[in-house]
């Protein structure tokens, strides 16, 4: 097994699975293109071949040297090597929560809309980053929310998700109605 560890084998397996899954999916669009000899699959299959080769090369490197960085490598940030060190269960849960919260927010955008979901998201992130003073949490949440509404709704008129479930949709409609009434005031 040389210097291979279980983590290397798991890493290699993930990459090989990516190659296999993508290769299998190339049969979904394996159609000839009249004006192009290599068809729609030619380019992706070559890249998958390259990925397979470099994955095996990486495993071979790990077999010889383990996780050690190759000498003379450039552009590796000091921040990029945080895998070492012990972490408490509380910290792991907190990291998982930080990774999961944005996903839940993204999932909530379609049904609940940007205007409703955003203040809750801001509060959660501030809490997850360790802030516990209620006055600060509320004031910063309102400040960020107001800033985003001003910039993207009032200045840029950006079409943000409004939600498709009542009462969230109604809330978004209320905010947008307020905005249009405000813009009709012609303050300038």
């Amino acid at each position: 097994m040389g210097n291979l560890k279980n983590s290397h084998l798991i890493e290699g397996t993930i990459w090989l699975t990516i190659v296999l899954v993508f290769f299998a999916f190339t049969y979904d669009f394996n159609q000839p293109i009249e004006i192009y000899k290599f068809g729609a699959t030619g380019w992706p299959r070559v890249i998958l071949g390259i990925l397979l080769f470099v994955t095996l090369g990486n495993l071979f490197h790990q077999y010889r040297f383990g996780s050690a960085a190759q000498s003379g490598r450039v552009g590796i940030s000091d921040d990029d090597d945080e895998a070492d060190g012990t972490t408490s269960i509380g910290a792991v849960l907190k990291i998982i929560a930080v990774l999961g919260t944005p996903f839940l927010y993204a999932l909530s955008l379609k049904p609940a809309g940007f205007y409703f979901a955003t203040p809750f998201f801001i509060v959660f992130i501030i809490l997850l980053f360790g802030e516990r003073r209620p006055r600060w949490i509320i004031s910063i949440t309102l400040l960020i929310y107001a800033l985003l509404l001003f910039l993207f709704m009032m200045v840029l008129n950006a079409p943000l998700p409004q939600g498709n479930v009542s009462p969230f949709y109604d809330y978004s409609a209320f905010i947008l109605r307020m905005n249009s009434q405000f813009q009709q005031l012609d303050l300038w």
């Binding site: 890493e11 990516i18 993508f22 669009f29 293109i33 004006i35 192009y36 000899k37 729609a40 380019w43 992706p44 890249i47 998958l48 990925l51 470099v54 090369g57 490197h61 040297f65 383990g66 996780s67 050690a68 960085a69 190759q70 000498s71 003379g72 490598r73 450039v74 552009g75 590796i76 940030s77 000091d78 921040d79 990029d80 945080e82 060190g85 907190k94 990291i95 930080v98 944005p102 996903f103 927010y105 993204a106 955008l109 940007f114 955003t118 998201f121 992130i125 501030i126 980053f129 802030e131 910063i140 949440t141 960020i144 985003l148 910039l151 993207f152 840029l156 950006a158 079409p159 943000l160």
Partner: protein
């Protein structure tokens, strides 16, 4: 040339309305360039209908100015928060952000300001002097085969930067390339790898991927540090780079001007590859390679000089041949057409006043980056004093909105957060985030030009390599890969 430049300058500064449009373009480009995901393209798209009420010179000049200052604007957030305002600022973050973490944000932003101005001014001067001959050379010698060869070379260089081992550098680039194949194939329009999601037919957009891999993964890294009690706020330092420090980088600046200018002339390549190649060449020629990615000022200087040097060059195919090199120059074609003009060789004869107002405006816009940028830097560095727990939700939300408004798809927000998690995990395992991003950006361009190039040479490899530019770039790229492979098999742990 000098007489024409003076005439253009007097037309620009002699009319208060034109001058006001110029100032608006300078400030607007900087501001929108600095907002992640929104970018100068958003501003240009918003302004496009209004250009109908301007003169052709004012309209084209406004877009040219936004292009110059917007390219610089994205460097600020790249350096301060690891959030490139646009793809062309991504390499700036490689060393700019580590400099911020070390308390050298002032030096990084100062270098970006100065070198963006130098790159842009140099490019504007060459553009004024040589637009017509350079455009003629480019149209004769550069086609899809050459663009593919340049992409190949660019990716070969990119894979040698970042990643704990060269294998991981290559895996990162290959991952980016495979992500770029998601969506319709560029020749037949056949759906690939959409996994049942119809929204994926349009492919993975650059902006969500870049914001996810850079900005969101950075938030996750800092969250992990906070959870483990290892987070330290970056010290704020207003110190600008000294003249001596910048003078030491003169070769890097000159090299990046050439690299940026060459990339800028090529249609569809533009400032993004210019910045990556400027950075890659800086690493290649440096005696202190290991310091890149850890806060080497040369990294900031090279990418910012190169991307601004590409802006003037991108105007050459547009003005001389009517070929837009990217999205913003394509909008400029629309401005010409709104005024019943066609960009191309005849513009030089029919509307020389327009051409020289634009040239002069680009020159002064790049100069103004220097003065406004220095003033802006002094204030913007105070953003670093905001506690991270308050900055994190703002960054995540700006990134979310930036991802969403490009195509109006919630899927893009999910892609961004997914890219953030993948980026976070890959960074921990020593993979190269810049390599993935460049693979995504260049994958589609590479495939499209490969397909067109192969059709042009009738799939004959010898015919392909008989084109001198192709031969040089393919040999250079192959040597880069071969050297990497040689090192990989001889590799010793650091």
């Amino acid at each position: 040339m000098i007489e024409n430049f003076l005439l253009g300058s007097s037309a620009l500064f002699g009319d208060p309305y034109t001058l006001a449009i110029f100032v608006f373009g300078v400030l607007g480009g900087m501001l929108f360039g600095a907002i992640p995901g929104v970018s100068m393209l958003t501003l240009a798209a918003i302004l496009l209908p209004f250009t109908a009420s301007l003169t052709p010179a004012q309209g084209v000049m406004l877009f040219a100015v936004i292009y110059c200052t917007g390219t610089y604007g994205g460097a600020i957030t790249a350096i301060l928060f690891n959030i490139p305002g646009a793809p062309e600022n991504a390499p700036t973050a490689f060393d700019g952000y580590p400099m911020t973490r070390k308390g050298l944000a002032g030096k990084a932003v100062g270098a970006a300001v100065l070198c963006s101005a130098i790159g842009g001014v140099a490019s504007a001067l060459v553009m004024m002097a040589a637009t017509e001959p350079l455009a003629k050379w480019a149209i004769r010698n550069i086609g899809p085969p050459e663009i593919f060869a340049l992409v190949f070379f660019g990716l070969a260089v990119a894979s040698s930067v970042g990643g704990r081992t060269i294998w991981k550098g290559w895996m990162s680039v290959a991952l980016g390339l495979i992500i770029a194949t998601i969506g319709q194939d560029p020749v037949g329009g056949i759906d690939r790898f959409n996994f049942g999601f119809s929204d994926l037919a349009a492919g993975i957009a650059f902006v969500p991927a870049i914001l996810g891999f850079f900005a969101v993964s950075e938030i996750f890294v800092q969250a992990e540090k906070t959870a483990r009690g290892r987070y330290e706020a970056p010290p704020v330092n207003m110190e600008f780079p000294s003249f001596f420090e910048l003078w030491q980088q003169k070769i890097a600046v000159i090299r990046s001007v050439f690299v940026g200018f060459f990339c800028g002339i090529l249609p569809g390549i533009g400032a993004t590859l210019a910045a990556f190649m400027g950075y890659g060449e800086a690493v290649r020629w440096s005696k202190n390679k290991e310091s890149f990615g850890k806060g080497n000022i040369e990294g900031v200087i090279s990418s910012e000089t190169a991307n601004n040097a590409a802006t003037g060059a991108a105007m050459i195919p547009l003005l001389a041949l009517g070929l837009p090199g990217g999205a913003l120059t394509a909008m400029m074609v629309a401005v010409f057409q709104m005024h019943d003009l066609e960009p191309g060789p005849l513009v030089f004869y029919n509307s020389p006043d327009l051409i020289w107002v634009v040239f002069a405006a680009m020159f002064y816009a790049n100069l103004s980056i220097l003065f406004i940028g220095i003033l802006e830097t002094k204030t913007i560095l105070y953003l670093l004093k905001i506690p991270f727990q308050f900055l994190a939700p703002l960054i995540l939300l700006l990134a979310s909105i930036g991802s969403y408004i490009g195509r109006g798809l919630v899927l893009d927000v999910m892609v961004m957060f997914g890219a953030g998690i993948i980026g976070f995990l890959l960074r921990r395992s020593g993979y190269s985030i810049p390599g993935i991003v460049l693979g995504i950006i260049l994958g589609k361009i590479g495939e499209q030009n490969f397909a067109q190039g192969m059709q042009m040479v009738h799939y004959d490899l010898f015919d392909y390599l008989s084109r001198p530019v192709c031969l040089i770039l393919i040999i250079a790229g192959t040597l880069t890969l071969a050297s990497g492979l040689h090192k990989a098999f001889k590799a010793n742990p650091a």
